[in-house]
């Protein structure tokens, strides 16, 4: 199945801004985070089709996954 992955801010460095990638059925958000070597503790908002989701969320063909780093400064 095809998943469009968008990365934001510091996550783009050494990776990409946006790619449509092929994944097997049953892939969850956390699988893609691991594949991209993004440390889990650096994750901020993680959205699938514009909704903030848990890492265990299973993806469906055509989904868009967007991953933002943690932002906490003031």
């Amino acid at each position: 199945m095809k998943i469009t992955v968008k990365l934001f801010a510091t996550f783009q460095k050494g990776r990409f801004v946006m790619q449509t990638r092929e994944y097997p059925p049953g892939t969850v958000v956390d699988d893609i985070i691991a594949e991209l070597s993004i440390p889990r503790e650096s994750l901020g908002i993680v959205m699938v089709n514009h909704r903030h989701v848990e890492l265990e969320r299973e993806l469906a063909d055509g989904d868009t996954l967007a991953i933002f780093p943690l932002v906490g400064g003031g």
């Binding site: 934001f8 801010a9 510091t10 889990r40 503790e41 650096s42 994750l43 901020g44 908002i45 993680v46 959205m47 514009h50 909704r51 903030h52 848990e54 890492l55 967007a66 933002f68 780093p69 943690l70 932002v71 906490g72 400064g73 003031g74």
Partner: protein, 272 residues
């Protein structure tokens, strides 16, 4: 002798009461600036300083703002702008909370900082600056760190909280305290070119949800720092949210997170 109300009404130009008249009323009737301001607004007149607000905020809305008590937790990058804008907007009472004094690395972005203020309390700077801009606004400074244990005392009588903190554990404690005390919260955070904000009502878990993958440490701000413009943008958006919540406008960010990438100049909306 002319009565208080008559003095204000006769000094008005149209329905605008100039600062000089407000000032004279304070002396002549031995009232505080805040008392005179409330009376002006109660008479459906408008202190002239707010005349450019009026196509955005009605006089009734201006009175609601004046009768509001808002806590700004953190008076650094975000909080300095938030305090400044809430005071210029006409919010009557501000509770300013921050344990820190100004350091040189604050000068690139913190509106309340200046060379003369280095080593001095951020909340004291807030008090002094607001006194010089809008003396009708009462600022209550607390030079302490917000914690779970002082939350009830700091937030007593507060109708709205603005989260302008600089660390995630305190943000989570503030969010929980707001739920416990039944207070709406406007959350904002920044790092580098990036930021986000949301509005959380009591009982909602917006802030905990944003930080659900957090375990320890800081976010991208640790690595990227903060330039001058990011706190100004996010703080302004927080104040726009606060304004709507205070005057009863419905179209706010409840249930949504707005994320900003000022490098790509993109705004993204996420549903919770």
């Amino acid at each position: 002798m002319e009565g208080f109300d008559e003095f204000l009404a006769s000094g008005a130009v149209g329905d605008l009461v100039p600062w000089g008249v407000q000032r004279s009323a304070m002396e002549r009737f031995s009232r505080s600036c805040a008392e005179v301001e409330e009376r002006i607004l109660s008479l459906d007149l408008l202190p002239a300083r707010y005349q450019r607000n009026r196509q955005t905020i009605s006089t009734a809305g201006q009175l609601r703002l004046f009768r509001s008590r808002v806590a700004v937790i953190g008076c650094g990058g975000l909080g300095g702008y938030v305090v400044e804008q809430l005071a210029r907007l006409g919010v009557g009472t501000l509770v300013a909370v921050d344990p820190d004094v100004f350091e040189e690395h604050n000068l690139n972005r913190q509106i309340l900082s200046s060379i003369a203020e280095l080593g001095k309390s951020k909340v004291a700077a807030a008090l002094a600056r607001i006194g010089s801009i809008n003396p009708a606004v009462t600022v209550t400074p607390h030079q302490v760190a917000f914690t779970e244990s002082n939350a009830s005392e700091l937030l007593e009588g507060v109708g709205l909280v603005v989260d302008a903190l600089d660390n995630i554990p305190s943000r989570l404690a503030l969010s929980d305290a707001c739920t416990r005390l039944g207070i709406p919260l406007v959350h904002g955070a920044i790092g580098g070119w990036y930021g986000h904000l949301t509005t959380q009502f009591p009982g909602e878990e917006a802030v905990r949800s944003i930080y659900r993958n957090w375990s320890s440490g800081k976010g991208v701000e640790q690595q990227l720092g903060n330039p001058s413009f990011t706190p100004a943008v996010v703080a302004s958006l927080q104040v726009a949210e606060a304004c709507k919540l205070l005057i009863g406008e419905e179209r706010h960010l409840r249930g949504r997170i707005l994320s900003l990438d000022l490098h790509a100049m993109e705004f993204h909306e996420t549903g919770l």
